[in-house]
Symmetry: C2
Subunit: 319 residues, 2 copies
């Protein structure tokens, strides 16, 4: 959410000259996305995003992300593909970092979604999953169910209990429950895995873009809907669940892509997993980020609240 | 250089509805300017900058900045005036802060200026000073010569010497010298006071905008040229002076606005003052900003180098 690498206008102009992208008119560092450096470029031809990949994105993963976005764009999903230079290259080096020129998409990220916006987002997610049924590349989810126990151990029981009294045993208990019940036979697919409102561009009730695919990976497909549910259907602090948003999101999804009965039945469990995943990564970042650092720490409690709600209310996923 | 206040897209849309500015298409937090929060907005009508004033800008100063920019725009200087809403209001409240909608200007800030770019910048500064000869409002320069000794004392002698051995006595000696020689009879005017390359937008060799007037104030007019000289005519670290840029900047200025003989003769002294002013504020920020804070600390040494160069080479300002 900051600009980590300062690229001079002169270097951006040289970079742009490899592309049929016009000449530079404006370049603004923007606060967007995971820990990358992003510039919004305007040229005599169009608008673009220039992304420099900082430590959180492994350059070895870029070919997966590029292929995924190309596949989705070819299937009319509104995503921002990387743009090839005149030699067809999409991955470049700039200021010692891997860098890509990316299609700019209009739209804004909503903070207080309406029912219609949740429904449109569910539909866009369903459209995406439909388009990905014939996408073959795989990328391991480094934050999948198999990794959660290790992540909790890296946090440390005392540090977890400092965040909230009793958090460490509560997580241990949830890990045991999920280990016992986690599904091994649900359909897997490439998923977005991080479809928070920040990563959905909208104009009014219309989705104009799904962005920030840098957590995308191969995992249980319905888990993507569970993540989106945890991200969209609560107040930011997780204390207020909105049943209307929940129903709209799932109905939107099913208008594009039907859940199997097994998927539908497993949603309560997958949602608990989704809440735990963000609880753990937020707790890890909270423990390992100085309070005054460049990156704003997000409170883990917001996802503990969601987890407890999902534990208490599996019925919300019943039609 | 970061986004301090997060404004939701919904709140931006409501804010925009007060203006004849179209409806929101895109909103990106941008890393720009002094410690304000800035958003680059695109609407169905045009592009705008939305600025929320954080602690470094006193809302009581906004009327001065607004009048200054209006005056300059009326005199065909390329500056970004604040835009009135339908009721003629330019200062608004948003998320608990004073906020203005501002004209977007194209152009990029250069990092390695050419002779032609330095000349164009000098000319733009001269044009600005010419336009300001009949501008009457006044604002005290809170970082003027009278305040430097207090600023040095706030830094503390030991802390200064930690930045560079001998820095504290070197500053004390320079303060004595400037107190003795500082001019009291040179023309005063509204000045920009911070015209670094970051604050000049250019397309090729052409200036398309002077921006970030939040240090503008009333002070010795030729001091503005001295600040611009210190900002433009050295390598970033201050170790390499570029005589070609220096001559081009001053020639450009004089092509628009002639320096009096007294001003010309005083430039070496004013340049020492300019170097000291940025040395002191950088030293103050260095001492008072944690190394890992949101704001990047800029090394004070870069302006100690400039000061020492100006002390040793008054002849660079001789025609």
């Amino acid at each position: 959410m900051a600009v980590y690498t300062k690229v001079s206008a002169e270097d951006i102009a040289v970079f742009l000259s490899r592309f049929d992208a016009g000449t530079l008119v404006s370049a603004k560092g923007i606060a967007e996305g995971v820990e990358n450096s992003n510039y919004l470029l305007e040229t005599t031809k169009d608008k673009y995003i220039l992304t420099l990949y900082e430590k959180r994105v492994d350059p070895a993963d870029l070919p997966f992300f590029i292929a995924l976005l190309d596949h989705l764009a070819k299937h009319d999903c509104l995503v921002p593909p990387m743009i090839p230079d005149r030699d067809g290259q999409k991955i470049h080096q700039l200021c010692g970092r891997s860098a890509c020129l990316i299609t700019f998409l209009p739209g804004v990220s909503v903070s207080h979604p309406t029912k219609a916006q949740a429904e449109a987002t569910g539909r866009a997610l369903g459209d995406m999953h439909r388009a990905l049924t014939d996408f073959d590349m795989e990328r391991r989810n480094s934050l999948d169910h198999d990794g959660w126990r290790a992540l909790a151990e890296q946090c440390g029981p005392e540090q977890l209990d400092e965040i909230a009294p009793g958090l460490s045993p509560a997580i241990a208990q949830e890990l045991d429950y999920l280990d016992e019940h986690w599904p091994h036979d649900l359909p897997r697919s490439a998923i977005h895995a991080d479809l928070f409102p920040d990563n959905v561009l909208m104009l009014g009730d219309r989705v104009t873009g799904l962005i920030d695919f840098y957590f995308s990976c191969t995992d249980v497909r319905a888990y993507d809907l569970a993540v989106t549910h945890a991200a969209w259907c609560f107040s930011e602090d997780g204390t207020a669940f909105d049943d209307q948003l929940s129903k709209a999101l799932i109905a939107g999804y099913e208008s594009a892509f039907t859940l199997s009965e097994a998927e539908r039945k497993t949603l309560p469990l997958l949602a608990r997993g989704a809440a735990l995943r963000f609880l753990l990564t937020r707790a890890f970042d909270w423990i390992n980020t100085p309070a005054d650092a460049l990156v704003t720490r997000k409170p883990p409690q917001a996802f503990l609240n969601r987890l407890q709600f999902y534990q208490a209310h599996p019925e919300i996923f019943t039609i």
